[in-house]
């Protein structure tokens, strides 16, 4: 009788190879696909080329952070404060345009590179020597929903695989006891489009992001109303049932994969509580992130999420998406500063700044940035003028800033630029496709080769677009 162990061992070789045999000439569909072992969907897989980065943390700022209040220094805008923008649009996303408005925070030069960064984010501003800024990104939509889809999934439409899903589909994960891809929602709530930002789209569900935060653990880690003894009894019984069933259906890969998935689940039950338990973090670490400061409970909760992100990466999780900012709320819960930009940004930056900066510094000091890419991004930028009758800026998909740091990234560069007032990208214009192509490239993936056939189209994260932004890659 075939034992399950030996079957599983064989399956990787014997059945694994015949699974590719195909009489029907659909090899074209398989040519570009990673070879996924059904019983080990998260097994690490080869990249297309030598990867500079093995893991990623994406810090996703929902609501569209104003480039003009943060990273994109525009002295001309200070000069023209209060004046109308000549030949500017009369109406933008939310309504009539008002006059040009100076940045609401003072800019200063920072670090060796002398990069101008605003006082809104003093901790992050200290890190500019390590960062590669892209000041000339453009989006395809000026509406949060489609634009966050575009940033997360490469298309403004609903239902496409997220960047993290593509990456875990392509590369699997180093740690088999944790999900390959973890999404950490903001303590204030989910971003716009919710789980579409970490959804699998049409990729197998195995590759979706698993939401997990310091506030909320993975669901269904343990059963309600069941004692440990009877839990163990049920699993033992189940295991016998499934092994017997496999013996009666020898060679059925799917059945073997199911058994393996229960084993993986059991390991996950042990490792997830371990990873989310921050009690083992020393006091100075908690302090450096701001996780101990209960005077700002939102910051403390976000800081704990940042620590969690580091711990996940330390454990070999492939892709961590860390959200800062929640859903549409008139700018109260995210970066959507239409009306009271300064008032709201003061609050939001206090949450973002110190914990995020501590995350990067902490990871750097532990050597994690040698293999980890950190991405800071937002779905689009904001207009150089205020909205009529308001103290805030409207949506602007034509020129905004995101940045990268860590493995494979050239430190201390600023790539591309917007016009003198920061309205439109004019130099080295990079659609977000390029941004995504660059992230994949750093992970050793060719965005044109990472495909999945769906509804007659070899889908890619970058559709039919995308150019790697080589100027920000380290040598």
């Amino acid at each position: 009788m075939l034992s399950r162990r030996s079957f599983l061992a064989d399956s990787a070789t014997a059945l694994g190879s015949i699974a590719l045999v195909n009489l029907l000439g659909t090899d074209r569909l398989l040519a570009n696909r990673p070879n996924i072992q059904p019983d080990r969907p998260f097994a690490p897989r080869e990249s297309h080329h030598l990867a500079k980065a093995k893991n990623v943390v994406v810090i996703f700022c929902a609501g569209a952070v104003s480039q003009l209040e943060t990273w994109d220094y525009k002295p001309e805008l200070i000069k023209h404060d209060g004046q109308p923008l000549k030949d500017g649009p009369a109406v933008t996303f939310q309504g009539p345009a008002g006059n040009l408005a100076r940045p609401q925070y003072r800019f200063r030069q920072r670090g060796q590179t002398g990069k101008w960064v605003s006082d809104l984010i003093p901790h992050l501003a200290e890190l500019t020597d390590d960062i590669a800024f892209i000041h000339s990104l453009t989006s395809k939509s000026n509406t949060h929903g489609p634009a966050e889809n575009f940033l997360s999934t490469g298309t403004p439409l609903d239902g496409f695989p997220s960047l993290g899903a593509w990456v875990s589909y392509a590369l699997g994960s180093e740690n088999q006891n944790l999900p390959a891809y973890v999404a950490i929602p903001d303590p204030r709530g989910v971003p716009q489009n919710g789980s579409n930002n970490w959804g699998p789209g049409f990729l197998p569900a195995a590759f979706q992001g698993t939401p997990l935060s310091s506030k909320e653990a993975i669901r269904h880690l343990s059963p309600p109303r069941v004692t440990a003894e009877s839990d163990l009894a049920a699993r033992t019984l189940l295991q016998r049932m499934n092994e017997r069933h496999l013996q009666q259906n020898p060679g059925d890969f799917k059945l073997a994969a199911r058994i393996a998935s229960y084993e993986l689940a059991a390991r996950m039950q042990l490792s997830v509580p371990e990873i989310t338990n921050l009690d083992t973090e020393p006091a100075h670490i908690l302090k450096s992130y701001g996780a101990d400061d209960e005077s700002n409970p939102i910051r403390a909760a976000f800081a704990r999420n940042c620590i969690l992100a580091r711990r996940l990466i330390e454990s070999g999780v492939r892709f961590v998406q860390l959200f800062n900012g929640a859903y549409a709320s008139g700018g109260e819960l995210n970066w959507d500063g239409h009306n009271k930009l300064k008032e709201q940004y003061d609050k939001h930056a206090a949450v973002l700044d110190q914990p995020t900066a501590a995350l990067i510094t902490d990871m750097k000091s532990r050597g994690l940035l040698d293999e980890t890419l950190i991405v800071w991004c937002t779905e689009f930028g904001r207009m150089p003028f205020f909205q009529k009758g308001a103290k805030g800026r409207d949506h602007n998909p034509d020129g905004f800033t995101c940045w990268l740091t860590g493995a494979g990234v050239k430190p201390g560069v600023s790539h591309g630029s917007t016009d003198a007032l920061g309205q439109k990208a004019v130099e080295d214009v990079q659609p977000l496709y390029d941004f995504n192509a660059t992230i994949l490239h750093l992970l050793g993936l060719d965005h044109e080769r990472l495909t999945f056939e769906h509804n007659g189209i070899e889908r890619r994260l970058t559709n039919v677009e995308g150019h790697v932004i080589r100027e920000i890659l380290s040598a």
Binding site: F93, A234, L237, K254, R258, I457
Partner: protein
């Protein structure tokens, strides 16, 4: 477009250099093309749609420019203009050295001499994009001869066996009878056979064949069949009960389309009619069917930018979704690829794509009143019920006491505001106080007063900024004069605007509920002022926070109502004479019944009771009167858009079918409905090579987990090739022959020897065809998410078989942007079949979503089957599983009593349709004794045998 250049001088001097012999294409011209043009306009690339290495293509020209070579007229030929353009940015080729003056002169002479391009000299051949199996008429294939002549039960089997024999493979032995019964029951109804089904079948088996077909007849007649097979269809059309995108608002009237699909399946609506109804059911009284047109995610008006480009793009996206849905679903073509450029693989041009858009360019994503006879009848009924309701409300008004605002009571003790130490019960007994402020509706009555303006001022709230869903002001004739369509205008202290939810205009728009309400911009305060078109004698104000009774926050707990006809304001009502919230009683009426005398009380109670009954009746009569099935208006003018960009319209188009497949084209003035009718007729035709094939394949896929064509939404040249092309054609013909009966196809398939095979592995066959695409066995596959949930409920005895209507909740929210909290424990409605769940787009069910349940973002032609640890955690540990395991235990115990081995036997029988083996009883017994039957149930629900088709 191009500037015509004065080139005569250049032409003149170069002519001198060229020999007098006439230009030869192969010798003189092609080398120039090869050197300068083919890298962008040859075999590998055809930029701007121009290809210069094949005669027919070169003379046709490129997409945006028309013919580039005008024989006999070099100076007018775009080709010459482009290579001689004086603007370097526009000149071809864009990079590198261009053709020399001599070479240009050669080209000019060649064109002027008639652009002679001999036939048969081209080095490349044009691939015929129409030369593709699925674009050819459906054949009438000959049924093949086979060696193993005792195996086939029908034609299907002959096709399958012939293919197996070709590869030297043999079919698997048949599955045992009960395995087939379980398989076919799961397959046709999504539920396991009951114990009774199994024993009856075993008894009937002595008649052998008749027993099988009797089962199939029974299953196809069961309403459970439609509930199962409609899900396959809803996957393809990405049906959901929310609008998608960031706000993901509820789409509360989407379900009539879902119910239509279920009914159409159950009625075996001929497939050609099924198509027509979904495209143009409004013409034949099948209103809900056109829900098909508007199943996609859509940006609601408030989410679209106010700028022109945003609005045009949103409209284009909305139309694109309709064209895609039609293309994928009925034709198996990815028509949408041609939105930005001619299709890369299939014979679909951008012009074809926009011509298709033109058929549906009058469709709007909106709710529509249904006009079926049933809808009309219940509408009438609802109207008369509402009339009665209004009468009752009028009669109830007389029990509402006049408000006595503070100014009128200056001498009295102001109990509610000053004396907070008085205990609540004592206050409640104070009958001089009016009813406590309610989140649903409040009535303030006062003696008639003349007013041109009315101001409602909020002084305090129970939380946050105040929100009011509607402010109504009644004159002495009982008419609401506040409503905006009478011209009443509104000013406020300031608004929190959330488009389509909280807007100033919603305060007097005549519509109730949080999603049509006004919200102040200040915490705990704000005012609204109404100005009527003329003076009125008013006597009553009605207002509420949310008359749909979902929200209780943001309630104006303290307020004043003032009126003015000239400059002076007069207080007519306020909250000071109302009971404070701490003293609220159980009464939820706008007045206090306890305050009335006995006669009044009796009368009021009678009316209130009747009102309650009416409320329920109205709700049920209103069901199904409206469906999110699209509205139809004068179609937009559609143009080809350069690169799909709405800001770059090119030539206008008329409604026309894909030019490679037909020549139906309608004049521009064709009315909206006629456009959709013409489209439906063309698709739902036996002559259309794709329609029947695509559906026959979907049916086959439903039964085997994978279609004869693996890419069920793509029968184009980029799609997978059919594993059994002749069989597919035979099935398509059979579908047409049967009068497009889907149930006929089910019967043929599930009774075939092919379907009756066991799932037994065969290493030799597997080494040739691992996925069993040639059907040397019944392919092993897991149940889908919905079937797993439904089966658990069926087995636990908890399944609620109520059909139709609004979906039950999987989440605490039915739509919205602030995240979805899963419901963990289900009762009543929540125990219905999962197809009746309120489907939140993009939000996968917390337990079953991990089983590759589609999220209705994009079309799902076939369910992927992945296996993940999250599935295991969900199915082992969710509250749902534990609840059902416990219910299962109770059921088993109730049915067989306390004997443990009997219980185990019965549990296996119910869950797996078989008796346990001796070893299995030995395994289970000590565990059941020690930990109870629920432990066995939990294991059974997680067992591979339970989760897989046998």
């Amino acid at each position: 477009m191009f500037r015509v250049l004065a080139l005569s001088g250049l032409a003149l001097c170069t002519q001198l250099a060229v020999s007098a012999a006439s230009v030869d294409f192969v010798r003189d011209v092609r080398p120039i093309f090869q050197q300068y043009c083919y890298s962008c306009h040859g075999a590998t690339q055809q930029k701007s749609g121009l290809r210069l290495d094949i005669k027919s293509e070169a003379l046709k020209g490129g997409g945006g420019y028309g013919p580039s070579i005008l024989a006999g007229n070099a100076s007018e030929s775009p080709l010459i203009e482009l290579v001689t353009h004086d603007d370097a940015d526009s000149r071809m080729p864009p990079e590198g050295q261009g053709p020399s003056a001599v070479e240009i002169a050669t080209l000019e002479r060649w064109i002027d001499e008639g652009a002679i391009w001999p036939d048969g000299v081209d080095l490349a051949t044009l691939e015929d994009r129409l030369d593709h199996w699925s674009f050819k008429p459906v054949s009438d294939p000959e049924v093949p001869a086979v060696d193993g002549s005792d195996w086939p039960r029908g034609t299907i089997d002959r096709f399958v066996l012939a293919r197996l024999e070709q590869e030297g493979l043999i079919p698997a032995p048949p599955a045992d009878a009960v395995a087939w019964l379980r398989r076919v029951t799961l397959d046709l109804t999504g539920l396991p056979p009951t114990g009774k089904d199994v024993s009856e079948f075993l008894r009937a088996l002595k008649d052998r064949e008749a027993a099988y077909s009797a089962v199939v007849d029974r299953l196809l007649k069961s309403p459970r069949y439609g509930e199962r097979w409609a899900q396959h269809w809803l996957d393809v059309v990405r049906y959901a009960d929310t609008h998608g995108f960031e706000v993901n608002t509820e789409r509360p009237q989407a379900w009539p389309y879902r119910d239509y699909v279920i009914a159409a399946m159950n009625d075996d609506t001929p497939y050609d009619r099924f198509i027509k109804e979904q495209i143009v059911g409004d013409a034949t009284g099948e209103d809900a069917a056109t829900g098909f047109l508007v199943t996609a995610s859509v940006l609601l008006p408030g989410q679209i930018g106010r700028d022109g480009p945003s609005m045009r793009l949103a409209r284009q996206d909305a139309l694109d979704e309709i064209v895609n849905n039609i293309g994928h679903t009925f034709l198996g073509l990815s028509v949408g690829c041609a939105r930005c450029h001619d299709h890369k693989f299939d014979p679909i041009s951008a012009k074809d794509y926009y011509s298709m858009q033109s058929f549906v360019a009058g469709v709007e994503y909106k709710e529509r009143e249904m006009h079926s006879r049933q809808a009309e009848a219940s509408r009438k009924e609802a109207d008369s019920l509402r009339q009665r309701m209004a009468e009752i409300d009028k009669q109830l008004i007389r029990f509402v006491p006049f408000a006595r605002p503070r100014s009128e009571r200056n001498a009295e003790a102001l109990v509610s505001e000053t004396n907070t130490s008085v205990d609540a019960q004592a206050l409640a007994r104070d009958l001089s106080l009016r009813q406590v402020v309610s989140p649903s509706v409040n009535i303030d009555c006062f003696a008639p007063v003349t007013a041109k303006r009315l101001r409602f001022t909020v002084l305090a709230t129970n939380s946050l900024e105040p929100c009011i869903d509607e402010l109504e002001v009644f004159n002495t004739a009982g008419e609401n004069i506040a409503i905006s369509n009478l011209g009443t205008t509104v000013t406020t202290s300031g608004d929190t605007t959330v488009a389509n939810r909280h807007e100033r205009r919603f305060i007097n728009d005549g519509e109730y509920g949080n999603s049509r309400s006004w919200m102040s911009n200040a915490v705990g305060k704000g005012w609204v002022e109404l100005e009527f078109t003329e003076e009125h004698e008013i006597t009553r104000v009605m207002w509420g926070r949310d008359r749909e009774e979902k929200f209780k926050d943001r309630l104006a707990s303290e307020y004043r109502i003032e009126v003015a006809s000239g400059e002076d304001w007069r207080l007519v009502a306020d909250s000071t004479d109302r009971l404070p919230p701490s003293a609220a009683t159980k009464e939820s009426t706008p007045f206090r019944v306890s305050k009335l005398d006995n006669d009044e009380k009796q009368e009021a109670n009678r009316l209130l009771e009747e009102k309650q009954g009416l409320h329920a009746k109205i709700k049920s009569a209103e069901r199904g009167q409206i469906a999110f099935a699209g509205t139809f208006r004068k179609p937009d003018d559609i143009h080809v858009l350069a690169r799909g960009d709405p800001e770059r319209p090119q030539q206008p188009v008329v409604p026309a079918v894909l030019s490679a497949f037909g020549d139906v084209a309608l004049p521009d003035e064709t009315a909206e409905q006629q456009r959709r009718e013409a489209l439906a007729l063309w698709i739902a035709s036996a002559e259309n090579p794709l329609t029947a094939r695509v559906m026959a394949n979907r049916i086959w896929q439903g039964h085997f987990g994978i279609g004869i064509v693996e890419t069920a939404n793509d029968f184009g040249r980029n799609g997978a090739k059919p594993s059994h092309p002749e069989l597919l054609d035979w099935l398509a013909q059979e579908l047409i022959r049967s009068g497009w009966s889907i149930k006929h196809m089910h019967r043929l398939i599930v009774l075939s020897a092919t379907y009756r095979q066991s799932t037994a592995q065969n290493m030799i066959a597997a080494s040739k065809d691992a996925d069993a695409r040639l059907l040397w066995r019944y392919p092993s596959r897991r149940l889908e998410a919905e079937a797993i949930r439904d089966c658990m409920l069926a087995v636990s005895g908890q399944l609620n078989l109520t059909t139709g209507g609004p979906g039950f909740n999987l989440f605490k929210q039915r739509g919205g942007l602030s995240g979805f909290t899963p419901i963990e424990s289900f009762t009543d409605d929540g125990l219905r079949r999962m197809i009746y769940a309120h489907k939140v787009r993009r939000e996968r069910d917390a337990v079953f979503g991990a089983f590759d349940c589609p999220d209705a973002g994009q079309s799902t032609p076939r369910r992927i089957e992945s296996t993940t640890p999250i599935q295991a955690l969900n199915l082992l540990n969710s509250r749902f599983t534990i609840d059902q395991a416990e219910a299962f235990a109770e059921r088993v115990q109730a049915e067989v009593g306390e004997d443990v081995s009997e219980q185990i036997r019965h549990a296996y029988w119910i869950a797996l349709s078989r008796e346990p083996m001796h070893d299995e009883i030995i395994d289970a017994e000590p565990i059941v004794r020690q930990h109870g039957l629920a432990t066995l149930g939990r294991a059974l629900f997680n067992s591979s045998e339970f989760l897989f088709f046998p």
